[in-house]
Amino acid sequence: MVNYVIKRSVYGLIVLLIMISFVFIVMRLVPGDVVALQLSGAGAVSEEQIAQLRSELGLDKSVWAQFLDWTKNAVTGDLGKSLWSKMPVTTLIAERITVTLQLAFMAITMAILIAIPAGIYSAMKRNTWIDHMIRVIAIGGLSIPNFWFALLLIIFLSLFFGWIPPLGYQSFFSNPIVNLQQMILPALVLALSLSASIVRMTRSSLLEVLHADFIRTIRAKGAKEKLVIMKHALRNSLIPVITLIGLQVGFLLGGTVIIESIFSLPGIGSLIFEGVTKRDYPVVQATVLVYGALFMIVNLIVDIAYGWIDPRMRPD
């Protein structure tokens, strides 16, 4: 098991390295650079000033040399400083990652709590009107863009209940009630599309297992239907569902960018967005790295969860 985790982590690091070199190089090759942006407000600028700022920001070296420097520092945990605010990037990310993590965690929890029971129910009541309704809602949930749903929710709540979520962000530990008021809507919006795909997968996977021979044997022995599903079928149908949740975390993290911007939440979604438009290279590199690492860790957890659900899948 430990060997397996190490192997996967090494492999993940290689993938992250390819990804970060792509981001690093592309950002510096594409027209529009940070020096021009920073000096754009200053009126007439001499060549000297440009050269000076360039060396101040460490951009006078070759891209290759910059990349080597950055990698060397990154290994020791130093991800550089923002080219604009001069704050260490790690501090910037640490300030904001709790928002995104809380949002993602709440969304996943809500999605699982809604979707798995709905999927089981849908499979048990196969081809009844309630099954059809759940399936229609699920495919609708997949098709409705989450930012539109967010806007509709805000309009609906303010027109009919006169309630608007408090703007901005307060940490859960300083003011849990305001925090939850601020986070519940964005999390719900993200949970919607997430649960749509989980419902579909739970239903189809459970139905497939219910056709298996061992289920027929258990039924033949006279087990109650509830016991058949809860104890035997569900456990065997969860593998594809968990795989899907792991993959969907990528969509979820992408979705946080747009949802954070609608609800003005200061998460890493808004950080990368500002970073790219201002060409703040170290900020973008670090945020992409964080996103990649999060995604990788989630999928590693998913792989470990396989073995926990189904002992046959434990790696030797």
């Binding site: 098709s143 930012f147 309009i155």
Partner: protein, 304 residues
């Protein structure tokens, strides 16, 4: 009137044979279409909705009652009336007309993204699956790297770097979607490569290109078509998301995402500005998702 062409009784044997195989093929695809219409009612409905969108986009100037870009200062944020069935926006532009022209942007992005990523992804996947070894390793690691970043984040990164333009949205979304096609076609190629008929073809002297073109790609069309339909819907949402964030379609072009972005400042005063573009966007995506589901049921019930 021209006399009807006579079938020449002295036609050489081979061309009669060719004609009949062609006819059989045509007959077969007609039968398949009939079977689709018969078994996949929802698929047919969603296909008609998609056709409707294509017609709207193609004949936008004829259908739209107003100019989508021209501002009318006497008609700010009007609620839906007979003159403006979906109301007007904050600059006095007719929302219905903007939605019709917006279909052009969405479909253009969808078609271009799906076509380019399908071709590139399939080529990469087939090469990866057929040749294996180092080539496979290299291609798969690059695909893994692309997939290691959440798709919208990567699209946002590329689109924001390149600047707001429809062309750049297409580039960004294409890069994001290539791995989906590459992964599925690689798996299919690995499977097909081991088939007896490929072995037979190889021993008869077929080269890699011939095997891929003659046996590989025709036998993996089912999953490719399903993924293409689902990718289409996702690309439309992604275009709208990028435009919503201000890094997609540049204003004043009518794009559904851009319209929603403008509307978000006037949500309480003019809810129709939010309602209609989002509704049309959702219907379009729903149609592609349902079509994808129907195609999956129809072409390969095992795929899921």
């Amino acid at each position: 009137m021209n006399p009807a062409p006579q079938i020449n009784p002295g036609l050489p044997n081979t061309s009669i044979k060719q004609l009949s195989t062609k006819r059989i093929r045509l007959r077969k695809s007609l039968d398949e279409t009939k079977r689709f219409i018969k078994t996949q009612k929802i698929g047919v409905i969603s296909l008609s909705i998609i056709m409707l969108f294509i017609l709207l986009a193609a004949f936008a100037p004829l259908i739209a009652p107003y100019d989508p870009i021209e501002q009318d200062r006497s008609a700010f944020m009007l609620a839906p009336t007979a003159a403006h069935i979906m109301g007007t926006d904050d600059l006095g532009r007719d929302i219905f007309s903007r939605i019709i022209f917006g279909a052009r942007v969405s479909l253009l992005v969808g078609i271009a993204t799906v076509a380019i990523s399908m071709i590139c992804g399939t080529i990469l996947g087939v090469i990866s699956g057929y040749f294996g070894k180092v080539i496979d390793m290299a291609i798969q690691r690059v695909m893994d790297a692309i997939m290691a970043i959440p798709p919208l984040i990567l699209a946002l990164f590329i689109a924001a770097l390149l600047g707001p333009a429809i062309k750049n949205v297409i580039i960004a979304l294409t890069i994001v979607n290539i791995p989906h096609f590459a992964r599925i076609t690689r798996g299919e190629m690995l499977r097909i490569k081991e088939m007896n008929y490929v072995e037979a073809s190889r021993s008869a002297g077929s080269g890699a290109l011939r095997i891929i073109a003659k046996h590989g790609i025709p036998n993996m069309m089912a999953p490719i078509i399903v993924i293409a339909s689902l990718t289409f819907g996702q690309s439309i949402i992604a275009e709208a998301s990028l435009s919503f964030l201000g890094i997609g379609t540049p204003p004043p072009n009518p794009s559904w995402g851009l319209m929603l972005s403008g509307a978000s400042s006037y949500m309480e005063n003019a809810p129709w500005m939010v309602l209609f573009p989002g509704l049309v966007l959702s219907i379009a995506v729903l149609a592609f998702n349902l079509l994808g589901d129907a195609l999956r049921d129809f072409l390969d019930p095992k795929l899921n």
